[in-house]
Amino acid sequence: MSVLASAALAAHTGKLDLAIRHVLAGLGHGIHAGRERGAGVEFSEYRAYAPGDEWRRVDWKLMARADRYSGRAAARDSHVAVWLVLDATASMLEPSRSVEGLDKLGMARLLLGCAGAIAQRQGDAFGLLICQDERAHFTPAARGPRQLQRVLAQLDRVDAAGTLPAGEVLRASLHFARAPSVICVASDFLDWPSPLSEAMLRLRGMRHDVRALCLQTEAEIAADFDTATAWRDPEGDNRLFRFGREARAGYARRRDEHFDMVARQCRAHDIPYVAAPIERAPGETLRAWLRKPGGRP
């Protein structure tokens, strides 16, 4: 499957869980080294079957007795919690100028969903933080398929609007950071420094594994936009911008300076920073984003 077709497929798949399954099927297992292996080491309790549970974990004898699907939940505490942070500000609605129906928010949703699914497969607890319209929507971390359903439903529901929440709001939402966590941030990082960047640096300072995914479009990278159209900043005032010939060089220079600065700061704080165009196949981006720092590519 070509790279473009994969990204376009992801854009056109209405159901997030289907798209996630598709991406993860191409990816295989073993992105992230779980601390414990196996579905369940020590039996903890029965619990009702939820969509997404593996069939082999269904207790068939119990089903025969009680006439309902029940799974054996393993008591398996992972020491790692995964936090999915989604920037859902208005600028994330930036569409791909080459792939119809694909935008940064859709790709961020898909990649975070994949990260959540991987965490669920590995038995890690995972939670979700959505920064949207000056507010932070917080979904507490938990394990299991239900949590994945919950997170995916949240991701599905989210609509990009407004700007990032203030620093205090974000700080109040990130009070979880006690146990060692992996924090996956998907954003366009157009605002830097911002409350989000400050929170990332602070969390990194608290020795959490913070991973930044900067979503871009190919048109932005090539500085190739229509010169006849008047543009406006979705998060700014109603000022107009034009993409003339002389503006193009300045645009490319300022944009490069900005993202160089972002990359430099991430490097300085030892935050893995991946900048990826949304037109790239989601599997590749996911692999680059979640691979072990300093490990094999």
């Binding site: 208005a90 930036e94 157009l190 008047a230 406006r232 107009l240 503006a247 300022r254």
Partner: protein, 327 residues
């Protein structure tokens, strides 16, 4: 030449373009990375809708009227016509009309005998299919005229009208001069006066005395040049000295008054040719050449007054409406 001004009509596009509505470009597409671009001012777009339609109409009319005024259009409003030279008998005109079969023709009285000049100047006023009949003592043109219309010419030579001319004679040989003028033939009658008046055309000075200072006449015949020493150095043709002075043109010769018939005829014909002008011959009954490419005559000017008034009114209205709109 004037009709070339019609090519200026595209100038009407200018007010039509100027009156297009200006509309600020408000449709802007969101671009996340717009912050890396320099801000640009809103662009005023002109849309294909017009504002101030009344003013636009006035301005278009004003320009169109100006072009029409410059182009000086002539409407072909005359149909079949009979052109009558003054002095033609009505019975002759009626007979010619019956002969040619132009009973419904409109009668046009020409101002003078030079019918072809009048026709050339007014030819654009005639309908292309109009038939023209030219009746009377038409002056014969030097060359056969080329006209856009076919013209039937029915000439009638008429006797020149009798006219009276006043000649003032100062001097001794009044009887000799009287005999000279009495011997002249033709419809003109010459009246010899003792004193010059306002209608004196010729003044004959045949006395050694100097003329009084206020005496003036178009032409002086000086038989005794004693009082006019400047005539001795004046240029001469065939022994006749001539000089233009504030009191009039002076002719002087030693042989005045003429003693023989030949000298008298030469003097008289020279006078008539130079001062009274020649009388053209009556044109023969020949058909002028019909040439569709013949140049039309000079400006008609028939609509110029109406167009001037319209121009003035439109200009005043345009100024007033513009002023009201600004307030």
């Amino acid at each position: 030449m004037n009709s070339l001004w019609w090519w200026a009509l595209p100038v009407l596009i200018l007010p039509i373009l100027w009156h297009r509505q200006k509309r600020e470009q408000t449709t802007a597409v969101p671009l996340a990375t717009a912050r890396f671009l320099p801000a640009s001012s809103p662009v005023q777009l002109r849309v294909w809708r017009w504002q101030d339609l009344f003013l636009l109409l006035l301005r278009c009319l004003l320009l169109a009227t100006l072009v029409a005024w410059l182009a000086d259009p002539v409407l072909p409003w005359r149909g079949d016509s009979v052109l009558v030279v003054p002095g033609t008998e009505p019975a002759f005109v009626d007979k010619q009309l019956r002969d040619v079969g132009l009973k419904e023709a409109r009668r046009i009285d020409l101002p003078n005998r030079d019918a072809y000049r009048w026709l050339h100047e007014h030819e654009r006023e005639f309908d292309p299919q109009a038939r023209l009949l030219l009746v009377g003592d038409v002056a014969m043109p030097a060359v056969l005229p080329r006209l856009l219309h076919a013209v039937t010419l029915r000439p009638l030579a008429s006797a020149p009208a009798a006219s009276e001319h006043h000649v003032a004679v100062y001097g001794r040989r009044v009887e000799e001069w009287r005999r000279l003028f009495a011997a002249l033939e033709g419809p003109q009658r010459y009246v010899l006066d003792g004193q010059a008046g306002a209608n004196t055309e010729l003044l004959i000075w045949d006395t050694p005395q100097a003329p009084p200072p206020g005496l003036r006449a178009p032409l002086w015949w000086i038989a005794d040049a004693t009082a006019f020493p400047e005539l001795a150095k004046a240029p001469q043709v065939d022994g006749l000295h001539y000089l233009d002075t504030p009191r009039g043109r002076l002719w002087s010769a030693a042989w005045l008054p003429p003693q023989d018939a030949a000298a008298a005829r030469i003097l008289f014909e020279t006078w008539q040719r130079l001062h009274a002008g020649t009388t053209p011959y009556t044109a023969p009954a020949q058909a002028p050449l019909v040439d569709a490419r013949a140049l039309a005559g000079p400006s008609g000017g028939a609509l110029r007054n109406a167009l001037s008034i319209a121009l003035l009114v439109l200009f005043a209205l345009e100024r007033m409406v513009t002023h009201v709109r600004r307030r």
